[in-house]
Each structure stands twice: as structure tokens, then as C-alpha cells.
Symmetry: C2
DNA sequence: GCATATTTGTCCGTATGTATA
DNA sequence: CTATACATACGGACAAATATG
């Protein structure tokens, strides 16, 4: 679902013929969706930091797509809460407020705790959680703190999958993408991501032995402390409340 | 947030001058959003039943908006899962599968049970829940079963608000809107909605006395039986699995 | 199976209104 | 207050896909 090529979406060539081949290979996604993929990557990787204004003209001519197509892509990302749309002013990379951070952790606590509470069948989600822990350990060895943060998000995405609902999965995908915006505003990502590795391992252990309530207790404590830490540092970083 | 006028969005008048006044009053929403509001109402009220194809030409000329604007509105509703988009074929009012119904109730159980479990401060949500119960009782007296269904959805929306998260509220708004699509496929709405009234009243009673776990138990039982009943009847109604 | 008509996907140019320097 | 830059929404154009006869 993600475009491999981070560069231009298409050449300035007449019509959309240049992408016909790709379009067949990529499973016939629309141009707008591909543009949205490119922008989403740019945003989550921090190339477009929160607050950046995305001018239709600049982005559109830069990517070689029309304004209508671009507006469609903007709308997709606005619905994912990665962009905010101010009427007659344009779109901006979202700047989350402290109240957003609090709300995001409220959602996480509600969903994630419920997901681990009753684990009837530990299917392949546990496998993915294990993979995410390994991914995090490898990132730590590389001193790749952004990668560690990504691994942490993967872990909690896999944890959420225990609930067995595609809609809950999608909700959490959006929540974690928003949290990425928070991380980019913060300095020193190591301090925030490194401690989570041990706690993830601990939670995974509880789940593996079928101790749902135990996992829930650990998870709740982790989420509370993470939120507190994050809100504290975030409030200092950003001017508005 | 909802347009009061169910008819045409704007006249065929040149440009958008006709709505300038309204736009100021209505809080400056875009045309696409207003079109989406109209279509959403049409869909949730059953005027466009599931499976209906929404042709760009017909809807566009009928509402007096351009194709671009209409496509923007379509995209909004597609993201709300009220429409499905088939490439080169157009948009259709979504027809949910049984697996969707199961997933929707899985979400409801997870979210709603968590919302009532720990009720620290019973603020104005309880007031809205009470209002929804009254709304349902009045609809029942009028033998207005569609209104009873709406009141039931209001009740559970207010119940969800106990969690105190705008993102969870939005999730549940979407979930309940999808459920409306299910209801429209079913015959005899009375059988499905009437029994819920008593159960809602019972749940509200538990919440009012601060008995979270008790409310959760009642709620879980209600959701399980409702899902079972609904899936059973829905599978008979629709051909596909 | 084939040819035609309809519909959608994508894009452009432009008129008008809006916000900011 | 004026000027500039920008967003909104429209209509039109053409290719590609689908539906229809």
C-alpha cells in the first residue's frame, strides 16, 4: 500500500500515460491515493514538520499533478488527522495540542487494555508482537532511535490486533500516526523510546503465558507514565496549551 | 453540523453567490461538506438504500454542484464507509456483509463496556442518556420504530461519551452510522428496536447509582444478544456471506 | 463477439471570493 | 486601503473503462 519511490509521482508528461504500467502493478490505486502515500511518508518521516503549510501550487507542480487531484490527496490526509484544513487558507501539517495528546492516550488505554484483557486465542498477533520487540532491539543496537520508535508503534499495533477487529485496527493505526507527529516536535527521542523496550518485553511475556489481567495492569501503568512524561515535555516545547 | 434544508444545496445561479449569506450563518463549511451532509441524511434515512448507485451526473445536476465538488463529497462519505467506490464504475451505497456486522458489534462491546466500567465523574453524559431514553419512549408511543432506532443510537452515543474522548466519540458515530445501513436492509424494525428500550433503562439505572461493573455486565449481555439476533436475520436477508 | 453510447478518471483554465502583507 | 497571493468552485476537455444494443 506504500509507494516505494519517494520522489516524483509522475513526470510532467501529457496525461497519465507514464504511470499506466505502474498502475497495473500497484493494483490500480488512484493518483490521489499515491500522492497521499508520498505526502504521508514525508510527514511521518518528519520531512514536513508539524505546522508546515502545504501550498497547492508548490506541491502540485512539484509532484506534477493537477490541483484537483492534489486536493483529493489533501482530503485523504485531512481525514487521517495528519493535515488540518483552514477554509480559504490552505492545509497545514497538523500541530497537536496537549489536549490531543491526552485524548490519544485515553484512546490507547481504553483500546489496548481491552485488547489484552481477554486473550482467548493468541494467534499470529503474538508472533507479530515478538517480531516488533526484536525489531526494537535491533534498532537500539544501531542507535536508531527513530527506528526504535517505529518498532514500538508496531508492537502496539500488533497488540491491538488481539481484539480481532479491523475497525479497531484502523482506529489505532490513525492514533499511532498522530502520535508520530508528537514525537517529531520533541527533542531527544532516545529518552522517550528506549525505556519502552523493556516494558514491551514484559507485557509480551504476560500475554504469552495467558495472563491477560497481568498484561493489562502493566500496560495501564506504561501508558499512564508515558502520557505523563510526554505531556510534561510537550507542554514545554509548544507555546499553546 | 447538519443542513436543515433537505432539498437542493444551491440554485443553478451563477457561481456560489446564492449561498454567501448561508455560508456565514452555517459556520463556513465547504460546499462539498454540505453536499455530503445532504447525501448522508438521504442514506441514513433510507432514501438511498444500500446498493444504490449514485451517478455523478444525476446527483450533480440534481444538487446543482459541479462534478469535482460532488466527487469531493463522495470521497468524504466513502471514508465514513457509507459509500463504496468501484473504479470506473462509480460509487454505491455500501452493502454490509455479515462479517461487517460481527466486526461492528466487536467494536461496540470493546468500547462501550470500557466506557461504563470506570465511571469517575458522571457529568452531562448521563443527562443525555436520560434524554435518549425519554426520546425512545416517546417514539414508542407514536409507533415510530425508525425514531425508536434513532433514540437507541443516541443512547449508546451518549454512553460512549462517558469515556471522555473525542476520538472515541467519532469512532462510535461512524460505527452507529454503519449500523443504520444494516437496519435498512432488515424488515420489521420494531422487533429489533423495541426490546432495547427496557435494557437501556436498566443500564442507565446502574450507571446512575455508580455501579460500573453491573452496567458493563448488562451491556455485554445486550450487545451479544443484539448481535446474535441481527446476524441471524441479516444472513437470511442478504445473499452473500 | 462487436460497435456504439454512456460514465468515470484525470486534468486544465478561469472567475470569484478571502486572507495577509 | 490597496495589492498580492491563495483557495474555492465551476465548466470543459479528453482518455479509458464500462454498459448497452
Amino acid at each position: 500500500m506504500r509507494t516505494a519511490e519517494p520522489g516524483k509521482v509522475r513526470q510532467q508528461s501529457p496525461q497519465g500515460q507514464a504511470l499506466e504500467a505502474d498502475r497495473a502493478l500497484l493494483g490500480r490505486t488512484s493518483t490521489a491515493e499515491r500522492v497521499a502515500d508520498v505526502l504521508r511518508t514525508r510527514i511521518t518521516e518528519g520531512f514536513f514538520p508539524p505546522g508546515t503549510r502545504l501550498a497547492e501550487d508548490a506541491i502540485g507542480s512539484g509532484l506534477g499533478v493537477s490541483r484537483n487531484t492534489l486536493r483529493e490527496a489533501f482530503q485523504l490526509l485531512t481525514h487521517e488527522r495528519l493535515l488540518t484544513h483552514q477554509l480559504n487558507r490552505g492545509v497545514f501539517v497538523r500541530v497537536l495540542r496537549v489536549s490531543d495528546v491526552i485524548d490519544l492516550y485515553r484512546v490507547r488505554k481504553l483500546v489496548e487494555c481491552a485488547a489484552v484483557r481477554d486473550i482467548d486465542s493468541p494467534p499470529q498477533s503474538v508472533q507479530e508482537m515478538t517480531a516488533a520487540v526484536v525489531e526494537g532491539e535491533q534498532a537500539k543496537e544501531r542507535l536508531d532511535w527513530q527506528g526504535l520508535g517505529t518498532a514500538n508503534l508496531h508492537f502496539h499495533q500488533a497488540l491491538t490486533a488481539l481484539a480481532g477487529s479491523s475497525r479497531v485496527d484502523e482506529l489505532m493505526r490513525g492514533v499511532l500516526a498522530e502520535l508520530r507527529l508528537v514525537f517529531h516536535v520533541m527533542a531527544d527521542p532516545r529518552r522517550f523510546h528506549e525505556p519502552y523496550l523493556a516494558s514491551n518485553r514484559e507485557i509480551l511475556g504476560r500475554i504469552e503465558i495467558g495472563d491477560g489481567p497481568g498484561a493489562e495492569r502493566l500496560l495501564a501503568a506504561y501508558l499512564d507514565s508515558a502520557r505523563e512524561q510526554l505531556v510534561d515535555a510537550y507542554a514545554r516545547q509548544t507555546p499553546d496549551g
